[in-house]
């Protein structure tokens, strides 16, 4: 060990002393995070720009928000990457198999948050659940919550709007997933699964022996960061840049006329616009922040976000392979209704 250089030893830290690494990383992250606001102000002060001008305002927004959002995202994705290693799809399935509805919907929606999920896995996962005897409604609760209540959205909401809004989004998202899944279960739509899916052999759901070491979980966290942050950062940069421009140049209350509380049609419109848009909540959220600052109603904005993610046209096209049109339509209508209610209630309450 003494033959390793300092650089080599630092790089090996996660592998050799995983707990120490986690502690040091947390402290460093926190220190960086706290220095962002003063650092961005100092940077803008050093540039030949008037801080109170539109450009100055936009610049400070951009310089503060970009590293802040990236830092938050990295932290959340890393932690989730580690948590994911405790919850494989096989394990989730074993936990849900054969449980009665109601409670199972709540479990499924909650597990949707911590189980790793890629939208192209939606179909194999769906079939796997059906094979193991997980009730249809319960499977839907999982499928609605998994992409919608995801760590990227939560990290960004937390970073840009504070923990209350992030928590609210999570709570409402779970509620929509639980209730929508339960409703679909009540509708007894099993006949609307494609025939070949129902003919698939029954499978015994076993949890599988995945005993990862802490080091492997940390490496899982790193892999998650590389994969997700690596894919999403250009969208975030673009989103924040646009948000900064809106922040600096668009007059206050401009959005109130279009997306404000008085415009009753704004919520359904927001839900509709969200349908053809494909995941990537990452880039949209910073824009959403600037819109909110200019008077758009929170309920409308949340409805839009949920719709973008939960009602994605591409995912529904993929699901067409396993679900008959009537079931997909039912799914879309139930979820859309749930999101609409969330939007209206929010606008009325806040």
């Amino acid at each position: 060990m003494s033959t390793l250089s300092l650089t080599e030893r630092t790089l090996q830290l996660p592998r050799l002393h995983p707990k120490l690494f986690l502690l040091v990383a947390t402290i460093l992250w926190w220190a960086l995070y706290q220095s962002l606001s003063p650092a961005s102000e100092a940077l803008v002060a050093a540039l030949p720009v008037d801080r109170n001008s539109a450009l100055g305002g936009a610049l400070q927004f951009f310089l503060y928000d970009t590293p802040k959002v990236l830092l938050l995202l990295t932290a959340v994705v890393f932690v989730m990457g580690m948590i994911n290693s405790y919850f494989t799809p096989e394990r989730t399935r074993a936990l849900l198999a054969g449980k009665t509805e109601g409670l199972a919907n709540v479990m499924a929606a909650s597990l949707g948050i911590v189980t790793p999920f890629c939208s192209c896995s939606a179909v194999p996962l769906f079939i796997g659940f059906v094979q193991a005897g997980v009730p249809l409604g319960v499977t839907f609760s999982f499928l609605i919550s998994a992409p919608m209540v995801n760590e990227v959205a939560l990290a960004l909401l937390f970073g840009l709007f504070g923990w209350k809004i992030a928590l609210l989004y999570m709570g409402l998202g779970l509620t929509v997933a639980i209730v929508a899944g339960w409703v679909i279960g009540r509708l007894k739509m099993e006949p609307y699964l494609e025939d070949w899916v129902r003919d698939m052999p029954r499978v015994q759901a076993t949890a599988g022996g995945d005993a990862f070491t802490l080091v492997e979980r940390i490496e899982g966290g790193f892999a998650s960061v590389r994969e997700i942050v690596g894919k999403v950062w250009p969208y975030i940069l673009a989103g924040i840049a646009i948000g900064a421009a809106i922040h600096g140049w668009v007059p206050e209350d401009f959005m109130a006329s279009i997306m404000g509380k008085e415009a009753w049609w704004s919520v359904p419109l927001a839900v509709l616009i969200g349908v053809p848009m494909y995941t990537n909540a990452a880039g949209i959220i910073p824009i959403v922040q600037a819109l909110l600052a200019k008077g758009a109603a929170l309920g409308t904005v949340l409805a839009f976000m949920m719709s973008v993610i939960a009602l994605s046209l591409p995912e529904m096209i993929i699901l067409r392979k396993v679900l008959k049109v009537r079931l997909i339509a039912t799914f879309a209508v139930v979820v859309a209704t749930g999101i609409l209610i969330v939007g209206y209630v929010f606008n009325a309450v806040l």
């Binding site: 799809p89 790793p116 890629c118 939208s119 192209c120 896995s121 194999p124 996962l125 079939i127 994969e227």
Partner: protein, 77 residues
């Protein structure tokens, strides 16, 4: 070595194939690489998250792009 990559065709699946191809080439290991996109066949392996990797009939990986280290391990045998 017969390697099958299971996936319905999203970016992760394509990247997995590219990764395996690249490492196999670099190591000079002869492999028959094929893609399985037919859902029925994918489910036949009992895989619930794609991309999945099957080597000589056995599932060695499911879910997300496999790490470089993992792929090199498979190709070192």
């Amino acid at each position: 070595m017969d390697i099958k990559v299971l996936g319905t065709g999203c970016a992760n699946c394509k990247n997995t194939i590219a990764l395996i191809e690249q490492i196999a080439l670099a190591k000079g290991v002869p492999v028959t690489l094929s893609k399985v996109e037919e859902l029925r066949e994918i489910m036949g392996y009992g895989v619930m998250s794609t991309p999945g990797v099957v080597i000589d009939g056995k599932v060695v990986h499911a879910g997300g792009i496999p790490s470089r280290g993992k792929v090199e391990q498979w190709l070192s045998v």
